[in-house]
Structures are given as C-alpha cells and as structure tokens.
Amino acid sequence: MGCYFPDRVTPTNPPTQAPDKDEVLRVYKEMLRIRRFEEQASRAYTQGKISGFLHLYIGQEAIAVSTADLMKDGDRVVTTYRDHGFALALGCEPDRCMAELFGKKDGLVGGVGGSMHFFDKDKGLWGGYAIVGGHIPVAAGHAFASKYLKDDAVTLCFLGEGAMHIGATHEGMHLAGLWKLPVVFVIENNQYAMGTPLSRQTLVDDLTVRAPAYRMTSDRWEVNDIFETRRRLAEAVERARKDHQPSLIELLTYRFRGHSMSDPAKYRTRDEVDVWKEKDPLHRAELSLRNDHGMSDDDIESVDDTIVEEMEAAVAFADASPQPEPEHRFRHHLFEDQ
C-alpha cells in the first residue's frame, strides 16, 4: 500500500509572514500552467500525436514551482523523465516543450529526446534522465564542478523514491556527502514506483534514515502548502550554497495519473486517491484564493481560461512545427558532428 506516515514528518516552523494575494495567485497560476500542459499532453497522446513514454507531473507541481522560485543564476535542476513540470516552472516555453513531446523540429532539444529528456541549460534545466538513479552521480558531478570553480551555484537533484534502492544513487550520494558538495537531493516520494508501493520497495517508512550515513542534513514533509515547501527547500539550498553542506530531503507527494500513459494505475484505491486530492497543493492554493482572498468562480475561471488557451496554443504550435530534417539525426553524437 502506498503509505504515508504523518508521525514521521518533521514539523515545520511557522511562516515569517503569510503570502499576499498576488503571490498566492502567481504560484497558483504557475502550478495550474503545469497541470493544464500535462492535460493537453495527455490528450495529444491519446490522439497519437505523442508516442513513446509520457510521464505526467500532475499532483507534484508545487515542487517544481517552489524550486524555480529559489533558483539563482547558475543553479541547476537535474531530474528524472518526469520532467515537464520543471521545464515550465523554470520558464521554458510551453510551445517548445509540447513540440518536443510531438518529436518536432522546434522541440526543446529538436525532437531527439522526447518527454523523458528535456534540457534547457540556460534556464537551469540540466536535464531529464531516464535510467533510474543514473543521474545522481551526474548531479554530484555538477556540484563537484561548482565547488572546483567556486561559482557558488547549487545543484538541486530530484529523484523518485524508487531510485533510492539502486547502486548509482548510493554511490552518488555517498560521494556528495564525503566531499561536501553544494547539492540538494530531493526525493519526490509519490508513493509508487510504477505499480510498486513504497511498502514493497523497502521496510523503512522514512527514506531520510540514510542521511546520517552520507553525513547529509535531512528534512521531510508532506507537500500540501507550496509556501512551506519553498521555505524548507530554501534552507537546504542555503546550506548547500553557504556551507557546502549537502541535504537529503524527502517530500511526500502523489501522482494522480498512472506511472506513464500506458499505466491504468489499477493498483490503488479510489479512496487513497481522494485522500490525496484533499492535500493537492493546487487545490489548496485555489481554496486560499477563494476563502482568504475573495476570488470568485468567475475570477478563477478566467485565470484558468487564459492558461488553457496558452496550452492549446502550445499544441497548435507543436502541430504546426515540422519534423526535424533527416540530416539532423547525424548531429551531436560527437562534438565534431555539427
């Protein structure tokens, strides 16, 4: 069973001040943009416009959005194949992201990577990786370079809870801890690795139990309130930047869709999903806008309409974008292949 352990969650320290309406609205829009993008992608997939694997970020948006708010120039995000949310949060154009999903010329990486491999170096997106755990040493390497070059940059590396049990993750985290690298490892514990609930992946309920072995600072909470998430992530980012002290963070979250489009997610109950729907940070932000900031149905709807339009435009852009030129397939294998 996908399990969640309130008792093991570290309590938060209270916010210094409550966010004002503009701020709530801004993050709400950012989260909603990701969700609507994913919904468009989902539709396009069922229409056969997107192929291969498509892993949606629906339910986890608050993590990418709060992360983006914390990033300074030069900071990096390294993540898994579940990477659309980070791309949008970091400012990549929905048009180019959707075009990548469509395998088109105007895609984020020219159509060569697809859903699992979004890269936008200038925006701080150092990549979506598709071999579970394989990106952990790479992220440690980015942080190694930051320390070597003294560029004050922080690398934020995201992984699923399922990636905690593979060797590369252990080795990468061990080296990051040993060498005190400026990196923050964030486990997005969405309770499942494909169809496998956490309880069949490990007997421990708290994945940060490994932090001491790596001499990392740890923190762990459930992602309901995006502002709490941002505040606590910020502490880890500063630890990395100022003290070169790496962190291991476990975020309890949930994906509302299947692992990928091909997964009907039969392995979980309606009730379980409903429990998490209540916790959904996007839903909570909407409630706050309604209850604390007096936004009406119409207000919310018009926000939504604009965003839906933006994402439909992205689909139109992707549709219209041409396929990559045939010769494009010979580029970038070696540096010489221009």
Partner: protein
C-alpha cells in the same frame, strides 16, 4: 494449431516450466502484482504466489546477483529485465559472476539462470531505451545468447533455456510481443544453437534474427517479385550460432546479406560476416553486406528513428546489390 502472441508463448513456456520444476522462479520489476510491464508474466503471481513470482525494487545489479547466487544454490531463476537497456547497471554481475563462476570454482557450481527481456529499439523511446545488447553479451565466454522472433521459437527456446544448465541471455522484443503465430499444443523444445530457415531460396542468403526476421521476410517477398529467391535464415541462437546451416546456405547461394537490429561496429553481424568470408572464401560471388542500425544514438522523432533502422526496402536494395554484383 492454436495461434498465440509471442507474449503468450513466452508466458506458457514459463508457466509450464514452473509447473514442471518448483525450483524455477521468476524475479524482476513489476513481474508480479503488476503482471509484467509487458504482461509476459500475467497471471503467474496468482498461480504460483509471491515466493516464486518475486517483485523487486529497482536494483538490477542486486536482483541479477541474487539470481546468480540462487542458481549456485540449486534454484533455476528466470530474471526479467524490464528492458535490456536496464541491464547495463547489472553488466558486472553477468560478465564477472554469471559467466565466470562455474569456471572460477573449478566446476563446483552450476549456473542455470535465464536473463530475459525486450532488446533493441522499440518505437520512439529515444537513445537510452533503444539499444541492442548483442554486441555486449555475445562478446565473452560463459553464457549462451538467444534471440526469438516468432511465438513458436519463443516458447520452444525459452523452455530449453530454463532447462539449460548455463546462464542464458534471452532477447525478446517490445514491439513484437503482440506478434501472432501458430504454437502446437503440448510440449516441444528447440535446441539452442540451431538456426531456422524461415524461407528457402537459391539466390541470396539473408541472415537475420530478432526484429530483423519479419522485415527480412518482407524483403525476400519483394525480391521474389524481382526474380531473386532469398533464403532467409533466422539464427535464433547468437552464441553459439549455427555455422553449419549458414555455410551450407552460402555454398549454395554464394551471396550474403545480414539484416538485423543493432549497431554496425562488431557484434554478431561482423562475427558472422567475418566467419563466412574466411570459411567460404572461395564461394562468395559478392562482398557480404550488412543492413543494420546507422551508427548513431537514436532520436525520439519518428522520422529520424525510421531512417536509422533497417527496413524491407533497405534490405531489398542490398539483396539486389549482392545478386547483381557480377552481372
């Protein structure tokens, strides 16, 4: 004869072998409760229980090694890699443990273990998920390597593999699990090391395996329309491979095209070509041609992927080239 998908033929093979020998068990990611990422193991958990259908965390080196250790201790593991792309993290366990422990121990241990799963490019999965592992796993002693392309071969060879006393690398294909074909009722075994002539012919020998088989047969049909009769040989076993069947055909046709899913450098393609060039040196009327992947990392974009892989048209072009070479 009943018609089955390759997926079902593989499942029947596993099911029959598990029923026959309770030392046989299946282990891998999502093989149990999820019934298999590609549904090859569907229903086996319900039938055999968690002890013999073992879901694992994501830890290929770990469960490949557990399989090796279990085989040494008398069990007969069937280890599923969700795809062989993920076996790269378990490479050491296969290269340095599975393939070597019998020899290292002076024959004290036997390693009856099957590593199976889909291999080579599927469709639009980009570079890390589109790789053919023949050139890696055929390159060292201590293992046998099999690649199946029909339901009949899939069932007969997997049953043989499970009963074999050696580590077997067993290649399937994601895009061919649904491919249908006749499978006789009742038990049959296909020996490892025997090629199968999928289509007889006198003019050109087309040597293939795995995903190459279907497109080679298509190419052979197109060639027939042009008056060229191809003999299509499905190697089925890549290590050891059927040198006798290949030489017999080449001595007859004097012309050879290899068509397969895999990168060009080295591997089974080069090995077979080099062997023929040496052993049938005086029988070749044309250089041996190889139709395989372009030597590039795969792209997600459909048009780019389609250009990189072998097609019936490409194979036909080379069939014509070797056939008309001396005219």
């Amino acid at each position: 004869m009943p018609t089955l998908q390759i997926r079902e033929a593989l499942r029947d093979a596993i099911d029959e072998e598990m029923a026959r020998d309770d030392r046989v068990f299946v282990m891998g990611e999502e093989v149990g409760h999820y019934n298999g990422a590609y549904k090859v193991t569907q229903g086996l958990l319900d039938k055999y229980g968690e002890q013999r259908v073992v879901d694992t965390p994501i830890a290929e080196a770990g469960f490949a090694g557990v399989g090796v250790g279990a085989a040494m201790a008398g069990l007969r593991p069937i280890i599923e890699f969700m795809t062989f792309n993920f076996s790269a993290v378990a490479f050491d366990q296969i290269l340095n443990n599975a393939a070597k422990l019998r020899h290292l121990s002076g024959g004290q241990f036997t390693l009856p273990i099957v590593f199976r799963g889909p291999n080579a490019a599927a469709h639009m999965l980009s570079s890390t998920h589109s790789q053919a592992f023949e050139s890696f796993y055929c390159g060292f002693p201590g293992v046998k390597v099999v690649s199946v392309a029909t339901p009949y071969d899939a069932k007969g060879l997997l049953k043989t593999a499970v009963r074999d006393e050696n580590p077997i690398i067993f290649f399937e294909s994601e895009v061919q699990y649904g491919l249908k074909g006749e499978v006789p009722d009742g038990e049959y075994l296909i020996p490892i090391g025997e090629a199968d002539i999928k289509r007889p012919g006198d003019d050109v020998t087309v040597i293939t395996w795995g995903q190459g088989v279907a497109i080679s047969l298509e190419a052979a049909t197109m060639a027939a329309d042009k008056g060229i009769q191809c003999e299509v040989i499905d190697l089925r076993s890549l290590r050891p491979w059927d040198t006798a069947a290949v030489l017999a055909s080449v001595r007859k046709t004097n012309r050879v095209v290899l068509a397969y899913h895999g990168w060009p450098y080295g591997g089974t393609g080069a090995e077979v070509a080099d062997f023929i060039a040496r052993e049938a040196f005086d029988h070749l009327d044309a250089p041996i041609e190889r139709v395989c992947y372009e030597d590039i990392n795969f792209s997600y974009a459909e048009n780019l992927e389609n250009l990189a892989i072998p097609t019936p048209e490409k194979i036909l072009a080379y069939i014509e080239r070797v056939a008309y070479h001396n005219i």
